[in-house]
């Protein structure tokens, strides 16, 4: 175990290196970078699982009468019979696709991977404040993953009440035929909550206490700001979900009736608890993506982030507003119209900071020296897709419109424009951007660009038509839409969406190939291949255990590109001494 003593003055640092066993270095590691890579592999695996579940769903939606599911024989009779995906398995697919993607793929990839990797490096510290808690936050995710996968193979199958787990569907096995599978998923959720809470405590403490000398709040990169705000959201929201999940387990196992009306409980209580977590969760899923995008756009445009302070304030505003809008998910459950109006207004307020960010991203790119590498393409894609997802969100914020379209494919389109076109695009961008720092090699740019364009085209072919399908009235979780008179005529659209979804899934394999191929064959990366300013690029690629020989001293803001006082290059690292670069390049 290395002994680390960081001195606030930025003077000499004692950092003893010694040999670690394989187990301590790669498995039960307390190094934030190794934990981040563990999270990355974990989440990429579950991203593939979630995608696979979606492909099975799409097959059923496009061809409900065909049967003949390819490789259908490998599934147990309780999932696929005579080549037909059974309705209860479809329910499990819908539920677990959403659950896996939100809780086991996107959320830990946004936070578990990048908060772990970037917070100590970008803040200029050796590691997290609590390295062992950090290790525990990853290992709490392992039983969660195992329980989730196991739930597919127990009697009754995996959870089938939707990712929102509405009671009483989720509380009474006789309503869905799912008993143990639901309990296993709830248990997994408790582990995920534990992981998230432990991680958040670490991220918040590290950000507050362990910033390098000179790293003032307003010199923190926007990535760190977004991860810091996200950690606060997670710390406040996840315990609510964990508590609700435990209450739901009690309803199922020991006869309590928190959410069961026959015992005096309230199904609506579940909805309130879930969405009190759920709406902040939406921002947990998008704020880090906004941070990555700000960073990548600034580097790729060779310009400072437009309106840095406004961007920070917008992040804080979104986080605050995110806690007072949860009711807009429940317009259909019925509420006092005055309350509905309140939630409508507070939700519409969120459009303001969101618009500030969108315009500032465009301002950042405006007349910049754009470098359209893969990371930049995905960051630009994020802005475009997030704008569409945000605009469709405005429809949903309005009670009378929401009641019409909420349980249709319109909302499926909306959530995917935000969560896939938003979060996942930014995540792809982040991986292309920080891969050289993580692994010391560049990802292949040609494959990266092909991956972007395939993803961009197929993504829009999949999800844009869903707005229309939803407006026609196709229900969001319907197993077979062909039996409804009002849905006649959308079969071809559904088939096109499915073919595009297959293309989207296949393009993910190009990314996976590039990821693993580049580990061995990728061009060796120098310390700062993007000529970026933040601290992580001022260390070797990959950084050594402990990150820094000496804790850096920060003199500048995070995005000093095209600085007018620097002549020989267009960037100024945060830790470059002003008097060395240029007497005029003072602190910003």
């Amino acid at each position: 175990m290395a002994t680390i003593v960081a001195e606030a003055t930025g003077q000499a640092i004692l950092h003893e290196e010694h040999e670690q066993s394989f187990l301590r270095k790669y498995i039960f590691s307390t190094d934030h970078k190794v934990i981040a890579i563990q999270f990355l592999i974990y989440t990429l695996f579950f991203l593939m699982i979630g995608g696979l579940l979606a492909m099975l769903m799409r097959y059923q939606i496009a061809w409900p009468a065909r049967g003949e599911l390819p490789l259908g024989g490998i599934f147990p009779e309780s999932m696929v019979a005579s080549g037909y995906i059974l309705p209860e398995f479809y329910n499990a697919l819908v539920t677990m696709h959403g659950s896996v993607m939100v809780f086991l793929a996107i959320m830990p990839m946004l936070v578990g991977v990048w908060a772990n990797y970037l917070i100590p490096l970008q803040l200029g510290t050796h590691d997290m404040a609590f390295p062992r808690l950090n290790m525990l936050s990853f290992w709490a995710m392992v039983p969660a993953g195992i329980l989730t996968l196991a739930s597919f193979f127990v009697v009754g199958g995996a959870a089938g009440a939707g990712w929102t787990l509405y009671a009483p569907l989720s509380a009474r096995p006789d309503l869905t035929g799912v008993g143990l599978g639901q309990i296993l998923w709830l248990a997994a959720l408790v582990f995920i909550g534990l992981s998230s809470i432990l991680g958040s405590v670490n991220y918040i403490t590290t950000t507050i206490n362990m910033r390098a000398p000179g790293m003032t709040w307003m010199r923190m990169p926007l990535t760190i700001w977004s991860l810091f705000i996200t950690a606060i959201l997670a710390l406040l929201a996840m315990p609510v979900l964990s508590a609700a999940g435990i209450m739901l387990i009690f309803d199922q196992t020991i006869g309590t009736s928190f959410f069961l009306p026959e015992g005096g409980g309230q199904p609506l209580l579940w909805q309130h608890l879930f969405w009190f977590f759920g709406h902040p969760e939406v921002y947990i899923l998008i704020l880090p993506a906004m941070g990555f995008t700000s960073e990548i756009l600034s580097v790729g445009s060779r310009k400072p982030v437009f309106g840095y302070k406004a961007m920070v304030l917008a992040l804080v505003s979104i986080a605050f507003l995110g806690f007072i809008v949860w009711g807009h998910h429940m317009f259909q459950s019925g509420m006092n119209p005055m309350l509905g109006l309140t939630f409508t207004v507070s939700t519409l307020f969120i459009a303001v900071p969101s618009a500030i960010k969108t315009f500032n991203w465009m301002g950042t790119m405006w007349r910049g020296n754009l470098q359209l590498h893969s990371a930049m393409l995905f960051a630009i894609g994020f802005v475009a897709m997030f704008a569409i997802g945000g605009l469709s969100g405005v429809f949903m914020a309005s009670t009378p419109v929401d009641i019409y379209i909420h349980d249709t494919y319109f909302i499926v389109a909306h959530i995917h424009y935000v969560l896939f076109g938003g979060s996942l695009f930014a995540l792809f961008g982040a991986i292309y951007f920080w891969y050289p720092k993580m692994f010391g090699r560049m990802m292949n740019e040609t494959m990266g660009k092909i991956h972007f364009w395939l993803t961009f085209v197929f993504f829009n072919l999949v999800f844009f038509p869903m707005h229309g399908v939803g407006m026609v009235g196709m229900m969001r979780r319907i197993y077979d839409s062909t039996g409804y008179a009002h849905l006649q005529g959308i079969e071809d659209t559904n088939a096109i969406i499915t073919w595009a979804a297959f293309g989207l899934f296949a393009s993910g394999f190009l990314f996976a190939f590039n990821f693993f191929w580049s580990l061995k064959k990728g061009r060796k990366a120098e310390a700062n291949p993007w000529n970026a300013t933040t601290l992580e690029w001022q260390t070797p690629s990959p950084p050594k255990h402990g990150n820094w020989e000496e804790i850096p001293v920060v003199y500048h803001g995070p995005h000093e590109y095209s600085h007018p006082d620097v002549e020989d290059k267009d960037w100024l690292a945060q830790n470059e001494r002003p008097d060395v670069v240029s007497p005029a390049a003072g602190s910003h």
Partner: protein, 286 residues
């Protein structure tokens, strides 16, 4: 192990003897035959030690009128019925005989051969066939769908593990089991509210379901004194004491009439509404 061998050998001989005599079960109708397929006892007994119980479920007086079922939402199913359309099946009386009575030995059985073979439950024209099914605990129940539309099969036992599975197309089958004796297990389709079946699970093979003419027959019952119980979904239960003598037929008859409608029907948990409290209390009605 050794006695098991002899039991099986004797059972084979008994089957041969029964077959030669025509089975001694002329009274069983289609419903009872369905249940008979699920009766593994027919496969293995010593003829010198077993007898048969048979009899009737008689219905006297006015026969309750069954309600018509509105199947207009499923034209494909409705087309499978005559001009009168489909009717409810809870009380089916033909020439004084009451169908769908589940008759089984409730006391006196000591030891029984393990279940073998599979019972079948089909969905035909939006109805379960048979309406009442008897199975042995641990026995396979092959559930199939002959309708080319979605049915779900929601079994809600109290002693066993329930299931709620779906069969969206014709030709799909699913195999289920109940491990513990339980009379009765209600089965319903949530898509078609009129679809209802009952599965009687006992831990021996000595049971039958009365056919359309009200007759039943339980073959290969070891000689001895037993309590016989008859269960009906509207008329509750009746019991009779029977003595089975080897090689002979014991007769037990059950009588029903319309006034018995509304009797307590043992079937797992019943939901009892507590008026004024807006609560539902779960109560065991054994």
């Amino acid at each position: 192990m050794r006695s098991h061998f002899w039991n099986r050998s004797a059972a084979l001989l008994a089957v041969a003897a029964m077959a030669a005599c025509g089975g001694g079960d002329g009274g069983s109708s289609e419903a009872a035959d369905d249940a008979g397929e699920a009766t593994p006892a027919a496969a293995a007994v010593d003829p010198s030690t077993v007898g048969t119980i048979s009899g009737m479920a008689n219905f006297g007086g006015m026969v309750p009128t069954m309600e018509a079922i509105d199947m207009s939402a499923e034209a494909e199913c409705a087309a499978g019925y005559g001009a009168d359309g489909p009717m409810a099946q809870s009380v089916l009386v033909s020439e004084g005989g009451l169908a769908n009575v589940f008759v089984y030995l409730s006391e006196g059985v000591s030891g029984a051969p393990a279940a073998s073979g599979a019972a079948t439950l089909d969905q035909v024209n939006c109805r379960y066939t048979p309406h009442v099914l008897g199975v042995q605990s641990g026995q396979d129940i092959e559930i199939s769908n002959s309708d080319n539309l979605l049915h779900n099969i929601n079994a809600t036992p109290t002693e066993n593990r329930g299931f709620n599975i779906s069969q969206p197309r014709a030709g799909i089958t699913s195999t289920q089991r109940f491990q513990v004796a339980e009379v009765m297990v209600p089965v319903r389709c949530d898509v078609h509210g009129w679809m209802q079946a009952y599965i009687g699970v006992v831990d021996h093979p000595y049971f039958a379901v009365t056919g359309a003419d009200g007759s039943y027959s339980i073959a290969n019952v070891p000689a001895g004194d037993y309590t016989l119980t008859a269960w009906h979904e509207e008329f509750g239960t009746q019991t009779a004491n029977v003595t089975v003598t080897a090689g002979e037929m014991a007769v037990a008859t059950f009588d029903y009439n319309a006034e018995m409608m509304g009797a307590e029907v043992p079937m797992g948990d019943a939901l009892v509404l507590e008026h004024g409290t807006n609560r539902i209390r779960v109560e065991r009605t054994q």
